[in-house]
Amino acid sequence: MTAPDGIDFVHTGPGTIAGDYMRSFWHPIYIAADLLPGWTRPLRLMSEDYTLYRGESGQAHLIGFRCAHRGTQLSTGWVEDDCVRCLYHGWKYDETGQCVEQPGEAQPFTSTVKIPSYPVQEYLGLIFAYLGTGDPPPMPRYPGLERDGVLETSTYTRASNYFNNIENGVDLYHVAWAHRDAHVQHSLDYMPGAMTVTESEWGITAAVTLRNGSIRTNQFGMPNVLHFVASQGRVDNWSEVFGWRIPIDDTRHVSFNVRWRSAVGESGVRARDRGWDPTDEDPERITKISETVLRGDVRMRDVEEAGILVNVQDDVTQVGQGIYADREHERRGQTDIGVVLLRQIWERELRAFSEGRSVKEWTFPEQLAATSGAR
């Protein structure tokens, strides 16, 4: 579960090194459109529970999971203005977690009661939160996604530790095999030894030269963002994808994905006209099919769900590693240079972080190209 020298990047509960490090970044926690004003949601992130809600003003807020009074689950209460009122005895909290009402008390002691609250911002159709201590860092911006275009959001939950998925993002070579039956077959044409990985200002740039001479480039952003270009094998049908992998607890994680398409050109117009139907990538269906493959009821090659095949393949390979990939007994080769570099960077950063030394400030520069390799 840990790197050979003992740095643990898979456990992210409160008080763990990786957990504290992860909490020093902003993370998307929910799809903005799925949270209506007046609604609450119980959320679990990095083994801690939270109450997410959208006030009647339209602002989203994130506060502690339990009422301070007798500890019942706050998401079952009522949203009033931008406050939440507990279902049990009506204690009311504002968006800072400050208790502002205790209706049963003749002599209220609200000023002494405060539950945790967390900064929240909405961006790219996602609700981002900062779950760490102290002042949050600046919210990262991605200018490419702010251009005119069609922005689609989606999410899925996967029954494995988040690090399985993070490693998958810097592992370009898996595309050739894990996705061999999908519509990305062109990626099969990898030249042996033609892969390079380098540390970037944002994280890792992984590139591979295909037999057709073109280059496929994935960008990985520390600590948990994957950016790539999907082309469906055609130059005129491409989209830019960003995916954030956030632990729910140590055994499950959630991914929030943003897909940007140009609103011009043939495919752009098609995408715009078609609109975005999140059921295109029905996450429960992906999980269900993946489970049947992992159980041995069907074979991977017999899965014919073209729309979600890539997702099923990723789910099968990553969950198939076990909840925690067994990193002590793996046999790494030349194709794993991305995974090796990723772990080196994580170990370096976690060690610096745990020893109180300065960690690298990761930035997403104006120019950081991902390419699909399609021609």
Partner: protein, 393 residues
């Protein structure tokens, strides 16, 4: 199933012991000094067995062909298979594996194909049982059991009505904490009361939130709520596990009928294990047969609405209570609401984090009483001799 995580979180707390139910825990030993209801009588026919878990231990319950109920150990002494899979013969139980046969007192009386005389040396634990108020009771403590506590409120004229046992995934103390807590009604049950649009009950309870008292009594805790212009309502907590609501009807009918109640209700919140509780509720209905039929039809429709499933969906954030279909019966809503707050506290409420106020006087009294008794028991000092509640109390 023990809740290990909660124990860690509560280490060092005075509240650490009160929710534990296993045989080696302080609270578990306290509970074992009393008779405990374990099953609804009508659910166990002569010749049938049931595997049961009570107070974090597993047992075999069966009813002999004579009609007498027996509780013996969960496993056969021979090679440990589950005895409930065996056969009832007379008032004995024969193991399915190799046919060892046990009497109701746990004595092995037959070992087919073994040398005679061996059976006499084998005995499995057995526990005293009684049937009362439509329930089978067991005694799991040491020594001679005390007299079974009688409930005169439920022995009068009327129809004794047994509700379906209700299993909730939370500790029993989440449930009994709620019983001495009048402050929750106006909020927890706001939606159910709102839907009874002609109901003055919510307003009354709002007003009464600060107008109630609770005091220790001979049987436990008596809570009195005073309402302007009508008779007070009483809630009774019987040590160790029972909640009695003398006017349950005024609440559970959603206040549509605020006449003096014509039924009495008592519920025992029995620990299955540390994270699960079963409730056995008994009503004494003082109604006409037609009213009884209507009462039972309402309850059947509430059960059919499956309150725990609705509440689980709300706890998971998939739906909101206010969006539930208007056809969901009001008693089901009450049940959903109690489940939300009690199961919503987690399998074991984290009492050391509580911020108690005046509204929690009942909760505080309950916990103080339990801690006092547990401490006395632990230090071999005299404990209170609890008396049954009389109808006058």
């Amino acid at each position: 199933m023990a809740i290990e995580a909660a124990i860690e979180n509560e280490s060092g707390s005075a509240y650490r012991q009160i929710w534990q139910t296993g045989p080696d825990t302080l609270s578990g030993k306290f509970l074992r000094r009393f008779w405990t209801p374990v099953y609804r009588s009508e659910d166990l026919r002569a010749g049938y067995t049931a595997p049961i878990t009570i107070l974090s231990e597993r047992f075999t319950l069966y009813r002999g062909e004579s009609g007498v109920a027996h509780i013996v150990a969960f496993r056969c002494a021979h090679r440990g298979t589950q005895l409930s899979t065996g056969t009832v013969e007379d008032d004995c139980l024969r193991c399915i594996y190799h046919g060892w046969r046990y009497a109701g007192d746990g004595q092995c009386v037959e070992q087919p194909r073994e040398e005679p005389g061996g059976a006499a040396r084998v005995r499995i634990p057995a526990y005293p049982t009684q049937e009362y108020l439509g329930l089978i009771w067991g005694f799991f403590g040491e020594g001679t059991p005390p007299l079974l506590e009688r409930h005169s409120d439920f022995e009068g004229p009327g129809i004794l009505d047994l509700e379906d046992p209700e299993y909730w995934p939370c500790n029993f103390f989440n449930r009994i904490d709620n019983a001495c807590d009048i402050g929750h009604v106006a909020y927890t049950h706001a939606e159910a009361l709102r839907r009874a649009s002609n109901s003055p009950v919510r307003d009354e309870y709002h007003a009464a939130t600060r107008e109630w008292t609770c005091e220790e009594s001979d049987y436990g805790i008596k809570t009195t709520i005073t309402f302007p212009g009508r008779e007070p309502e009483y809630f009774h907590y019987h040590v160790p596990l029972a909640n009695q609501n003398s006017e349950a009807a005024s609440l559970h009918r959603g206040g549509v009928d605020t006449d003096k109640a014509r039924n009495r209700r008592i519920s025992w919140r029995v620990p299955v294990d540390d994270g699960n509780t079963v409730s056995f509720s008994v009503n004494l209905l003082q109604m006409t047969p037609e009213e009884v039929d209507a009462f039972r039809a309402r309850r059947a429709s509430s059960t059919a609405a499956n309150p725990p499933a609705l509440a689980d969906a709300i706890l998971a954030g998939k739906i909101r209570e206010r969006d539930l279909d208007p056809s969901v019966p009001r008693p089901a809503l009450f049940s959903v609401e109690d489940y939300l707050t009690q199961v919503g506290q987690g399998p074991v409420a984290m009492r050391e984090n509580d911020r108690l106020g005046k509204v929690d006087q009942g909760v505080l009294l309950l916990r103080t009483l339990w801690e006092r008794e547990l401490r006395a028991m632990d230090q071999d000092r005299p404990m209170k001799d609890w008396k049954p509640k009389t109808t006058a109390d």
